[in-house]
Point group: C2
Chain length 525, copies 2
Amino acid sequence: MSLAKALFTSTLARRGLPIQRVAVASNIRWYSSDKRLTEDTMSQNIRNMEYAVRGQVVIAADALQHELEENPQSHTYTKVLYTNVGNPHQVGQESLQWPRQVMALCNLPPSKGIDHPELAKVFPQDVIDRAREISHVGLGDQGTGAYSHSQGHLAFRQDIAKFIEQRDGGVTSNPEHIFMCNGASSGIEMILDVLLNGPDAGIMIPIPQYPIYSAAIACHGAHQVGYYLEEEKGWSMDMDHLEQQLADAKAKGINVVGFVLINPGNPTGQVLTRQALCDVVTFCAKHKLVLLSDEVYQDNVYDENAEFVSAKRAAWETGLLEQDAIELISFHSTSKGLYGECGHRGGYMEVVGMDASVEGHLYKLASSGLCPNLDGQILMDLMVRGPDPWTESHREHEAQKRKIYDELKAKAKLMTEGLNSIDGFSCQPAQGSMYCFPAIEMPPGAIAAAKQQGMAVDTYYALSLLESTGICVVPAAGFGQKPGRHGFRTTFLPSIDDMKQAIKDMRKHHEEFCARHSEESSKVA
Amino acid sequence: MSLAKALFTSTLARRGLPIQRVAVASNIRWYSSDKRLTEDTMSQNIRNMEYAVRGQVVIAADALQHELEENPQSHTYTKVLYTNVGNPHQVGQESLQWPRQVMALCNLPPSKGIDHPELAKVFPQDVIDRAREISHVGLGDQGTGAYSHSQGHLAFRQDIAKFIEQRDGGVTSNPEHIFMCNGASSGIEMILDVLLNGPDAGIMIPIPQYPIYSAAIACHGAHQVGYYLEEEKGWSMDMDHLEQQLADAKAKGINVVGFVLINPGNPTGQVLTRQALCDVVTFCAKHKLVLLSDEVYQDNVYDENAEFVSAKRAAWETGLLEQDAIELISFHSTSKGLYGECGHRGGYMEVVGMDASVEGHLYKLASSGLCPNLDGQILMDLMVRGPDPWTESHREHEAQKRKIYDELKAKAKLMTEGLNSIDGFSCQPAQGSMYCFPAIEMPPGAIAAAKQQGMAVDTYYALSLLESTGICVVPAAGFGQKPGRHGFRTTFLPSIDDMKQAIKDMRKHHEEFCARHSEESSKVA
């Protein structure tokens, strides 16, 4: 017996595992521990894909948080302030009460379920009634434990269609063309799966963008064709620039098939004008680009002079909808808005003007994942169809929503103004969404120091901010920006007190960072 | 103004939409309604992908069900009996009470939540205690509305690791290598995303197989390298055949990177022996194939002479685990077992022996979808860690599970025997899982008739069965089988009464079908 074998056999005995079950331990064959799967043999598309929202800085933040839990005295702060992801409940936003009550009742099994008399002492009658309706009509008496239709239960899709019609001033919506999904993310991925046909394919995306688009495009080894948003003009779009970018991509042999619009903007926070929307849908119709309209922040508009206009409404206003001249998919989610219910992964997409055969393939793809989760479906239904105005729950539900809205509005202003008050920071107003995306003047030494460490200066800066203050932001490079610009994305979701402190901390850090990197040759502290 | 324009403008007016908002209706430009996205321009991988479990026959079944609801007299039966998908709650299995009670409480918001005094009159104290523990420890007081760690909350992964260790007789499991996911499906898709690098890549899959594998492989335009299960020997594996298939694929230039094992079998229902498991893990180690072990039916073993052995346990018994000579990913789910909770999309995968950098990319991929849904995470936690033995809920929970198990066991036998009692049917015993996969002798006329209609004879048969009886099965062709074999997959999940009737109906249909197609030249009825 070789030494290795002897050691191995003694390990077996030491562990106290039932040796009699070890069929062949006495007659071991030895195989190489070389890996089949390495960075060189794995999917190179996945290897090359980036996803900054939970990238290097967040991994460092998680380690820091762990350290702080082990040893609260280890730093000048006692917790990590996560502003890297639009995750309102993580940073203290309380869930709305009514939808959670209905959800809870929908999950109770029949025997000790909705009809239990004591529950009437805990829940308003309208909550019990709505849960009964969902169980019977929505779920067709199959409960939350059965797979639904691959697109989600029809009754929920009917409610979504009604919501869309009302939102868009009567433009019709058909539940047959609504696909519920596990958050908007899974819908976006499905559409890109269908849309991208080989390495020549390209999609136009805004720069800056939310990185699920660049990530999904990279997964397919396809091209991202960026178009810049005009920062100085409130992150607006320049149609001439769009034409130019498209022409350049075509000239390079890229088969541009789609166009991504994010409105209200992520990470940029702008709310596009009606005219901009009409211009974009016209651009897509003219050039035959499938429009992916990310509208998950449609309820997050704080600027009183701004208004959310859906891409579908714009397609109707420009006549493109009735001409059947546009292929449009719009996305919505329970994770944003005033619900902020990220954990339940509720979402939908509405598919407009798609070729029927292609939509059949989309259905097939949705079917291979069987169905979106039922709790997310129920929550999506509750979000598009709140408590009836005459019910006990209605007033309180609306008041809770109002409170969250007012706070978000105040915090958007607070964060924008706070960032702009820091020398070297410049931040466009957050008209909507949950983010600020300041530009930061980097001292020359920082650029050199980051280069020396082989990382983008934005990442270098974000890691420094994290270490000094415990604030976790996402480097702007992860969203894309014009060459030479630097900065980060932060949410404005933490409490007002936390944000006031964060702005102070950011200012102090920036001053120290600039001092530390004031000369090009400065060494990293 | 052209007639088309005039008609369009009058439509606007007719709809009563707010005309003042129609910015450009008076100055409409006309664009082509040609589609960018057609079957020819969309992703050809998605176009070519098949997913039979919700394919043509199920779409026909849904239409039939709709027809029956509109007009219950339209057929000799009054409902569609869905046996196409392992969806227990859809066909009458009641949810277990304890996990649903805990889930419900976890979703209640703090203000009228777990601590409400009246709830103690509805729920046992141990349910309230467990929900409190989950809210505090599992969810870290963030509730179900926050995104979790991309792999799922650590406390849940710790419980999963403990479950795996206990199941595998002490073989260690590390929560850092567990990825919770939206059902096993999304885990399988993620792994194949990482594994498949370009069109030369191939994966060995059993024939017959569960079609998510062939579907996901097709999505990547990669190769499926089939290995046949030996039907006559209870769907066992022939190692010489595996060697041959691998050698043949390599000779064709296919870069075979992975191996799929489904145990207990889907659609085949066999439970592999300990020896077979040891042979498979050794085969994978020898040839450096990443092993994907689909173990979602591990709690569904009915044959008293059979035992579920995990691939990981076999890797330990063969010494491969301690040699670090195997790359293994195993999948589990809340959708099967005795929970049958399909709708909540709970699942996990355990990653063993994977290169650390590659696992980092897997984490990144998981992060791009943010996190698996929280309700599914909670349910997965409850499934791997039931009520404590001393609690009020324990006895009743175990009794409910036992009842479901006993029924499934009886139904497996009933369905196998029933199918074998039909002349021309031959069905291997379902030792486990939820399915029977009979072989059916097709009359020669049926093959000709199907060909004439351009479909597989299995599909032709399943559509005929559906129309005659209302029973919805999946054509065997959708899972793959040896050339010349025909049949279907059926679950044995409906009630015993429904299944007895189904067997009668299947027999009658088969006799009529054979009579109708007794001659090669017979016309389709």
